[in-house]
Symmetry: C2
């Protein structure tokens, strides 16, 4: 048998075969991989952006995918996505909440939240902001804008903290005109995540921590925590302040508020000094298993997407259940139906305790009012009112956090359980005071089966509120927008 | 350059090289693999076992690894494993529980559970089984043995259901002498998992299900569920029965008991018709995420082990935290410390609500007694007593389940939360009855800060109980063992 090739030819053939196999591997690997977006940030920049740019559309040309998905937050609200429904009137669903907030603007209007794009539309339309016809009219303060718009950091940089906050809400109607957008979380020069609201930096600092040492993964939660946290408006200028000096639990925050003698409002019926929880999303999230495992807000609410091989963060911030294939299912090997069911089950269990507590709190306020009416003294009522404050703080902390009953289901139920314990202690004390005043019957309870009935019971004239609001929306808001356009605050 | 080999020689060399590489792969694969125990069951059998064999040591020669690890349950108790402590006197830690069980034997003695090997030792020594000096003496019935020994199925097969159960507990002291062992879960002829307690099969059947259709994985929980479930003793012969006809939740079981008018005891203080929860482990486990993901009891409590390449189920049933490397960590990529912390955190949160509820329940019983004492009528008390029954059922269901606050943390807290709501409703009603009888002060509460004080308050003479028990242990128990040995019931 004759050998057709010379030795050196065989070596060449062998090397060629090896090269072909190697190349095939590389090509297959490239085809399989979803390549990350690694193009240089400066290379991508078509438009150079200087300073705080509140108009998000300016970023659109540089970051079209991020911009486009941010605009999609117009359809963010969970209910419209999952159930084909729009924002829900919570007070109509749970009229007891009108009673709990008697003496506070939330008793007028409270609906389920919508996407970032709606932030301004919703605050302007809410009955909570009233109908200020002049720049010095109330009821709300400039601090009410703080988390609604990227015009806030722009204004603060332009005029200073004091000049911004030492005003009524209506003072800045023509300035605060772009909803939450790019500048709230990004440094325009390099698009790094940054803290635009100094309240968070200051809270870290008081805890002895330096927020500039936060890791990139921590920043993916901290930019959210700037607003999605519990806060209060401090001092004369109503400066937004995080009550985190003693820690993050419902008890830590209460202790902070108690020590500084803070109260959001005196309850109109019970006269209890109430703490209104904002939305302690970050605090409760931190106490759940996802945070404990290093998951950030953005991991689930801004999952990665890819488009033509470009990987980018989805800025359509929404309920992760709407896109489980890019959120839960990147870690959990279960189908969408199962995962949604697991979440709903957690929510339903927490909601059972919430409903019990809500109903008892409404009774406690009504019974306390009755007790005052028959002649109870401050001294007799003091202990019960403190318990009502504590119970309602727990109710609000457990309920007002977006997604709390999923983020930390057990912590939420722990909080609500303690709330139940406190509200009953309050009701039992009130009953003792009633007996001491010779009243031994049950306290007559008003009909609060609808939002309207509950609002009427606490003395709200909703017809007037709505008529005033309509006038404001018709006469003032168009002026604000016109002025904003004239000053170039909005791109149109 | 001259070629040293002829073409056919090169082919032979090539074929040889390929063969060596293939063989290496196969050898490495064998070395890396933990081969499963696939030897034929019949081949392994050195000793042939016929019928129900209660003496587990008989199985030792055939299944040395399983037997050895089963014997290890002598060190099963969590506390001795993890904290260097032995069984804990729960009543000493939580004297309120003495009050809750006034009128029931649990108020005398209740400690944390120990391993299967201790099942008989603990029931014989417990003050709950009293000091029966004759076979017809109480206080307990034969059904008290049902889950303690593999002699129970043996006896039932030998003498029939009625003859077994229609007796006092003391009647079978010389027969029930081997603790929970092989025969309780295994068919001796092929070691298949089997149901040795017909109560479970019957409960399935009443739900329209056929337990013989259970999958092998389901059987890895169902053999445990034979005993680790809620049950009651039905009718004159006190036949163990599972109250599952309406479902598995605390509400489903309560509805079942209410419909048949079942009550475990009338509370000695409040006269409330109390339901004593046994240990609804299986029911609560089913409501947690592990069961929902298809995990069985054995997956965590009897993890696989390997020894010399033989894979076997660890029969040292214990707290999975003791061996996280073979339990949690087969799925969860977290270190032992983190995993333990996560579990303890769940337990602590549930325990907060448990403690609140426990204290309120004790007050409710004491206040109810006071109210009876000043002349309350059945009619006045009825509603409050029903609420106490419901609240205590929830407390007991949430507390008595082994590991419930880990198995289904949220369900446990939901149950305890509803318990809190019920007990306060009861206390408020009782307070109304007191006022109606002209009593407006607080009800004086006894000192129940220690187990001894609480036991004295409810009228127990613990010195007599203990002296009687000592006599029983000294005089009767040795007789039982002697007789058992003489009859070959124990291998010695």
């Amino acid at each position: 048998m004759k050998d057709k090739f010379k030795p050196w030819q065989r070596w060449v053939l062998f090397a060629l075969a090896m090269a072909v196999i190697f190349a095939s591997g590389v090509i297959i690997s490239f085809l399989m991989e979803h390549s990350a977006e690694v193009v240089n940030i400066d290379y991508k920049k078509k438009i150079k952006i200087n300073g705080i740019e509140a108009r998000s559309i300016i970023f659109a040309e540089n970051y079209p995918r991020e911009y486009k998905t941010w605009v999609d937050t117009t359809s963010t609200d969970l209910h419209s996505r999952l159930n084909g429904r729009t924002s829900i009137d919570v007070l109509a669903q749970r009229p007891e909440m009108v009673i709990l907030w008697a003496g506070y603007a939330f008793s007028k209007d409270y609906s389920t939240p919508r996407g970032h794009m709606y932030a301004l539309q919703d605050i302007v339309h809410s009955l909570r902001t009233g109908a200020p016809m002049g720049v010095a009219d109330g009821p709300q303060f400039a601090s009410c804008w703080v988390c609604k718009s990227s015009d806030v950091p722009r204004m603060i940089e332009a005029i200073g903290v004091d000049s911004f906050y030492n005003n009524k809400w209506a003072a800045w109607g023509a300035e605060i005109v772009n909803p939450i957008g790019c500048a709230d979380c990004h440094e325009p020069k390099n698009m790094d995540l940054h803290i635009s609201r100094p309240s968070l930096t200051e809270a870290f600092s008081r805890q002895g921590r330096d927020i500039t040492h936060a890791t990139p993964q921590e920043m993916r939660s901290l930019v959210c925590a700037q607003c999605h946290s519990e806060y209060y408006f401090k001092g004369n200028i109503k400066y937004p302040t995080f009550p985190w000096d003693k820690g993050f639990t419902v008890e830590d925050l209460e202790k902070y508020y108690d020590e500084i003698g803070f109260t959001d409002y005196i309850h109109k019926l019970s006269r209890a000094p109430i703490l209104k929880a904002q939305h302690p999303d970050y605090e409760i999230f931190k106490m759940g298993i996802h945070a404990q495992r290093g998951v950030s807000c953005a991991d689930c609410h801004m999952p990665y997407n890819d488009e033509g091989g470009i990987k980018y963060s989805d800025h359509h911030i929404q309920n992760p259940l709407a896109v489980t294939e890019r959120t839960c299912q990147t870690c959990h090997r279960d189908n969408k139906e199962t995962l949604c069911k697991n979440v709903y089950e957690r929510q339903q269990k927490a909601n059972e305790l919430r409903t019990l507590l809500e109903k008892e709190l409404a009774k406690a306020h009504i019974e306390a009012k009755f007790t005052w009416d028959i002649g109870a003294t401050e001294n007799e009522m003091q202990e019960a009112l403190l318990l009502i404050r504590q119970a309602q703080w727990r109710w609000d902390f457990g309920v007002s956090s977006h997604g709390g009953s999923f983020h930390a289901p057990q912590e939420t139920m722990r909080i609500l359980g303690h709330g139940l314990n406190k509200v009953f202690q309050a009701r039992m004390l009130i009953s003792k005071v009633l007996v001491a005043h010779g009243y031994t019957d049950n306290v007559p309870l008003p009909d609060i089966t609808t939002k309207e009935k509950a609002q009427q019971y606490i003395g709200l004239d909703m017809a007037v509120e709505k008529a005033d609001k309509d006038k404001f929306l018709k006469e003032i808001v168009p002026e604000w927008l016109q002025k904003a356009k004239a000053n170039g605050r909005i791109v149109n």
